[in-house]
Symmetry: C2
Subunit: 132 residues, 2 copies
Amino acid sequence: MVTGIHHVGIAVADLDESIDLYRSALGAELLHRARSDRDGLEAAFMSTGAGEVELLSPTTEDSPVGKFLARRGPGLHHVAYGVTDIAQALDEARGAGLELIDPEPRMGMHGAMIAFVHPKTMGGVLTEFVQT
Amino acid sequence: MVTGIHHVGIAVADLDESIDLYRSALGAELLHRARSDRDGLEAAFMSTGAGEVELLSPTTEDSPVGKFLARRGPGLHHVAYGVTDIAQALDEARGAGLELIDPEPRMGMHGAMIAFVHPKTMGGVLTEFVQT
């Protein structure tokens, strides 16, 4: 079951500047920073009350976020929904005809199990499930 | 004060198909549909637990969402944050150097007061405040 919008992912060119922007513009608080060599990115998780902003900065140009920035520029990258049972969410997504980027859940930078759905079967929206 | 992510706005080519997609993929429920001649769009508000998905379909090609679709294709369009006091949120946004699309709050399709911040001062993200 989907419990809500867990976070929005935003591709940024400069992580420190973007943290300052979200602090000053929204009063958001930095919860933690993490780096993923697998995904070629550094992320900052900002609390905005109910729901987080995940600022994503590529560490390599050929990473998914690096390619996104080169193609589209900074901006909204993905939306993540909290789910109570990620295996069930993926089964239901398959049943609805969605193409999964992650056919099996994997550990995300939040320390929670995550999986991404391909944007081409979600109306152009890169969509993530996070088990909460 | 920002209370959380109120909704994400998603530009779609076909509103009925998109409502069906969000029902089948996420179990989202249609809360209401509304049409804005001012903004040249029809919107469907879908409940996804904590936070809504606002599906946006243009009614004219030269509307903001019509131009967005022509330029970028369907996908994530904006993110909206709930605020307790929208006049104060706009004052703080001005103080943080943000450019406001709506310098004064206006009535949105939710029946709540809203205002948009220009993406060029928010790292490429069209950002909305909604007084909750």
